[in-house]
């Protein structure tokens, strides 16, 4: 008789509180769902406080407030204060639009630990064209200055795409000028709006090699000073998929504006029913809900993953990517060279070299049917 070894499920380390889908920007790389939901369904302050309390009691340590644009929630300070009192490390993930020196100070007083500001480019022209809003760059620049002046650690996040990848040297210089502590240079993940716009976003392999070399060169000159740069390449050019968030339902817990609990921020696009925190305790959701257990362990896997020696390393790759591309959420991530669907990735790279459909900016009310192949 052989007993199947299953790893015990630890607590979620990260709680991502997506406070609202409302956003003043219209980035075409947005990974929010293309069907943006209704503002009237947003969780109340009381609900959010309860979610925070429960997650912390389970052992969660990092708390991210994101959206959409979390600054649009008037109770943000209250939620920060509650999270900090519980002992969370509190992160605000913002576009910087709507931020003021006064609000930065109020958030500090509430106990906010860190502010992350996203940039779309290294100058007003590129940034504001991508963000779909004038004067966005200037605002972000000034707020980044304020964040540092008020003594916060600051992370800058640049979503890198074909539209700004030639700006890497300027981006590195701008980050140093703003005295950022960490800088994420992440090529967009192709979910949600970004999937629809993939042809316009995915850089070429040559562009990526150049960009990476520029980052490495800059790092060598830094001599331990200035921002720490983190460069994330898209897995489309790799032979193996990225490990899915340390394994589905192992580290991350996302709660969406309407209270849905997800094992990852884009899981809503999967054909699964996810629980709502209004109906069930977080502890139950995390440990017992069907959707959270659906891809834990490896018994759900098919070949070639199920007998693969690397399944402990990448868990068969991203479930969302597998589903979006193949229509089968149990399939091997097509990024893997062992996948029979690898040609889909290669076709996508091909088609990105000459986009035929127009770029679509994120907008509420605009209806994009989820695009399945």
């Amino acid at each position: 008789m052989s007993l199947k070894q299953t790893k015990p499920v630890g607590p979620p380390f990260w709680l991502l509180a997506e406070l609202t889908y409302d956003c003043p920007l219209h980035c075409p790389y947005c990974s929010n769902p293309t069907d943006l939901g209704d503002k009237a369904d947003e969780l109340s302050t009381t609900h959010w406080k309860e979610v925070l309390t429960q997650a912390r009691a389970m052992g969660a340590v990092q708390l991210g407030f994101s959206g959409g644009e979390p600054l649009l929630r008037k109770d943000l300070e209250q939620l920060v204060e509650h999270g900090r009192e519980l002992g969370f490390y509190t992160n605000l993930i913002t576009s910087g639009i709507g931020l003021t020196a006064k609000r930065i100070a109020k958030l500090k007083k509430a106990g906010l630990d860190h502010i992350q500001i996203s940039f779309q480019g290294a100058d007003p022209e590129v940034n504001d064209a991508i963000a779909g809003r004038g004067k966005a760059y200037q605002q972000k620049f000034e707020m980044a200055r304020q964040v540092k002046a008020q003594g916060y650690p600051m992370v800058l996040n640049f979503v890198i795409s074909k539209q700004n990848i030639t700006q890497i040297p300027q981006i590195l210089a701008l980050s140093t000028e703003l005295d950022a502590d960490y800088v994420e240079l992440a090529t967009a993940q192709y979910y949600g709006w970004a999937y629809h716009n993939r042809d316009h976003l995915l850089p070429t392999k040559e562009q990526l090699i150049t960009a990476e070399a520029q980052v490495n060169h800059y790092r060598d000159q830094q001599d331990g000073k200035g921002p720490q740069f983190i460069f994330v390449t898209p897995d489309y050019y790799e032979d193996r998929p990225k490990a899915c968030m340390n394994g589905w339902g192992s580290t991350f817990l996302t709660v969406t504006p309407d209270g849905s609990a997800l094992p990852c921020h884009s899981a809503k696009l999967l054909p699964l029913t996810f629980p709502n925190i209004k109906d069930k305790a977080l502890e139950d959701i995390w440990h017992k809900d069907f959707s959270f257990n659906r891809f834990r362990g490896d018994s759900w896997m098919k070949e070639p993953c199920s007998s693969c020696s690397e399944k402990e390393q990448d868990f068969g790759g991203c479930r969302c990517q597998a589903f979006m591309m193949t229509g089968d959420m149990d399939a091997t991530d097509p990024v893997c060279s062992k996948s029979k669907d690898k040609h889909m990735i290669n076709d996508a790279i091909q088609s990105a070299s000459s986009p035929s459909n127009p770029l679509v900016y994120r907008e509420a009310g605009r209806d994009i049917a989820l695009f399945k192949l």
């Binding site: 340590v61 990092q62 630990d113 992350q116």
Partner: protein
């Protein structure tokens, strides 16, 4: 660093005892390092006011059977500085 230097925790990090992990942790934007028990005890005494020698004296008093801790503490403080957990206002 000398025995008279005064370390303080880099404001990029927040030190906290985590009951769930049963250890001190350093929290920073989107991440966490777990500290082993001795590292935790040293870090917990750093307040931007005490000198290295005061910190060592306090540790000796709390762990009288541990022998001379000077080298161990200094070694840890050097590593911690390299990792940017600590800074010294000169």
């Amino acid at each position: 660093m000398s025995l008279q230097s005064i370390p303080s925790i880099n404001r990029l990090f927040r030190l906290q005892f985590e009951t769930a992990q049963d250890c001190y942790v350093l929290l920073f934007p989107e991440g966490m390092v777990k500290l082993n028990p001795s590292a935790g005890e040293i870090m917990a005494r750093i307040d931007g006011e005490k000198t290295v020698s005061v910190i060592i004296k306090e540790l000796q008093a709390q762990f009288p059977d541990a022998g001379d801790l000077t080298l161990d503490v200094q070694e840890f403080l050097t590593t911690a500085q390299q990792k940017k957990w600590l800074i010294y206002e000169s």
